[in-house]
Symmetry: C2
Subunit: 400 residues, 2 copies
């Protein structure tokens, strides 16, 4: 069970989910926090995204999240209902609504029953304590099959700090900013400017490098909470020589990166219906954005994903996906390695593989693809999973 | 059975497909033809695409096609093997290899056994006649469950002409130029310049407006063959006042358009595992390319496709797909109609639908979506199908 100074957590069932699973979670902080947050780039934004984007400029005292309803596409009622939730938390903890961060996840286009959350808030506040992180993490799950948390300790100038985080997947996942929801908490005093910078980088190589089904949600939010200490933070940061690329800066960045990456990995492993975990690295591209585009084109190809399910080494589908990504490359130059075995050399089959090896190359649960374009110097990795019949079962009846 | 002056067709089984289905087809013309052709924009191009692109500048005397092997990603052997096939046809019909059009479809990255085709060519040539079109059409099928042909007659200045066509689908279909293979033949004498112009437009609104799985193949080719008569054609065209938007021009364009569109529709209907036929029209966008991008983003969304399979009106998935398409729009303005029933009004649920209506809105086999952005004046339609477990069955074991 993860604990962290100053942060209290709780999770309850308020009735949004019919199966009585936890569906509303709260974080309350003893001291004011800053938040560095990235939100969905989807033009259709859920009401809580619109509100939290605004509130993230203020100091934050609490975070309220519900699952079971995304509160998206509800017109003016979306904002009204989200504000009712904020009011009820505000009343209980004595902080203004502007100092509360709010998120929702679940079905789109059904009105949020704010009364259910209002009723649960007093109990949530009462229950909130240092050991409530697991309940909080459970309360944000939707089709997730396991609860996703990660943590890391760092020592800065002899003082021990913690970073703990939780995230939820597991469909409508190709974040264009962040996964549906990811929350990371730390007791490291950081300036907002530095934290924003570090967090943005961490998100790009973790939550922005995964895909389950290529669908970016209306609610994607990744938020990193840490103590707000005003000028004091600046002073602490300065004393620690917290400049970009300094030792302390790198310690924090690496630790935060690891927590984000671990959570991102869990989201992919728990992709709806997924049975295989896939890493695709595009190497030696002309640009990093080109490498990323190719990796995502392969990762989102239904033909690639079903090939993995069938464990059938039909590598032409990888070549076709690379070629249609419209990224500049040398079409005759491509090498492909699967779990470090050379499969394709100069865009045609490598003959060195025995029939038996070919048969089993896709049988592991975790499969590592390296696509070497041999034309530039830039690399990029993305994580994904396979496409199975279970994905279709889950999504043909998500609401029922 | 379709017949057309000057064109002879045949189809045979040469052994590329293990199940003895027809796998090689031939068209021979008594008189020289022109061809207007569009090819895949995939950067990884199959050998026959590279060759036919070059040959399409010459007059054409024959077309040879095989299924069962795409002859893509075979390095230098790809070109060598395709040339061997051309040589064998050339020898039998007495035309230069440069005057023959060649296409392949099937598995990528396995070497084409040119010997099998060489052996079949003499018989193919002998069998070719006016009534062989059905055999030809069958010989290009891969996972297609039915043979796709369409035809149209037109009268120009009192003379009757024909347009007949065939196409094959049905996976790796999101043509970025044309479907995997589509061939259209006509006895209308046209100048290459005019035919190129007309055919390009027809392809854009037919084969370039469909998607099964978002995967563009390495072999996509759509080709339109018609009599080459050199200066004579120009004269005929001139006499017929064949200017853009003249009556004759429109007759030909409309007829060719209909043939292309009918074939495109059949490809979607025969999409791998598909049980529903879906038309998505985006209306009142700022630009046509924006309308097309939104329509394709919705059409390729696995969450949208599985919702159709489950007949579950989870329209928030449509909103999410529209929003992530990164096309300029007014996010609060969107109306969605399904089979002309208003479902979403101003980006939120329309209340006028009864529970019973809501339940059955997705039950028809053919479903028409209209997405009205209410911000500009441009419209665009695309065709697609749903995603079912059968798609996964088919593609998890395509090679076996």
């Amino acid at each position: 069970m993860e604990k962290i100074n100053n942060f209290s957590f709780s999770g309850k069932s308020c009735g949004l989910k019919k199966n009585k699973n936890l569906d509303v979670g709260l974080m309350v902080s003893e001291t004011p926090l800053n938040v560095s947050a990235v939100f969905t780039r989807n033009k259709v934004k859920a009401a809580p995204v619109i509100i939290s984007k605004k509130n993230s400029k203020n100091v934050i005292k609490a975070l309220i999240v519900n699952s079971g309803n995304a509160n998206a596409c509800n017109g003016k009622y979306g904002i009204l209902d989200a504000k009712r939730v904020l009011e009820s938390v505000s009343k209980e903890i004595g902080a203004a609504p502007e100092n509360i961060f709010i998120c929702s996840t679940g079905v789109i286009g059904e009105r949020l029953d704010a009364t259910l959350i209002e009723r649960a808030v007093p109990e949530l506040v009462k229950a909130a304590d240092k050991s409530g992180f697991d309940d909080f993490a459970k309360s944000i799950m939707t089709t997730d099959t396991f609860c996703k948390t990660a943590s890391k300790e760092v020592i800065l100038d002899g003082v021990k700090y913690s970073i703990i985080g939780t995230a939820k997947g597991s469909g409508m996942i190709m974040p264009n900013m962040a996964t549906m929801l990811a929350f990371i908490f730390s007791d490291i005093p950081l300036s907002k400017e530095k934290a924003d910078e570090i967090f943005k980088d961490c998100v790009e190589t973790s939550f922005n490098s995964i895909t389950v089904d290529g669908d970016t949600s209306t609610n994607d939010t990744a938020a990193f909470f840490y103590p707000h200490a005003g000028e004091n933070t600046e002073k602490v940061n300065k004393e620690r020589s917290f400049k970009k690329s300094s030792a302390n800066y790198n310690i924090v960045k690496n630790a935060l990166s690891e927590v984000c990456f671990e959570l991102a990995k869990m989201i992919v492993k728990d992709g709806e219906g997924a049975t295989k975990f896939i890493k695709i690295t595009v190497m030696n591209a002309y640009t990093e954005s080109g490498a990323k585009k190719i990796a995502f084109t392969v990762a989102n190809s239904p033909l690639f994903k079903t090939m993995i399910t069938g464990e059938d080494l039909n590598w032409g589908r990888i070549m076709a996906a690379i070629g249609r990504s419209s990224v500049p490359l040398k079409p005759e130059n491509i090498d492909i390695y699967i779990n470090d075995k050379l499969i394709v050399q100069d865009s045609t089959v490598f003959k060195g593989l025995s029939k038996a090896e070919e048969k089993y190359v896709l049988s592991p649960k975790e499969i590592d693809f390296k696509i070497d374009l041999k034309c530039g110097k830039k690399n990029r990795s993305v994580l994904t999973c396979n496409l199975t019949k279970e994905y279709i079962d889950i999504n043909a009846s998500y609401r029922s």
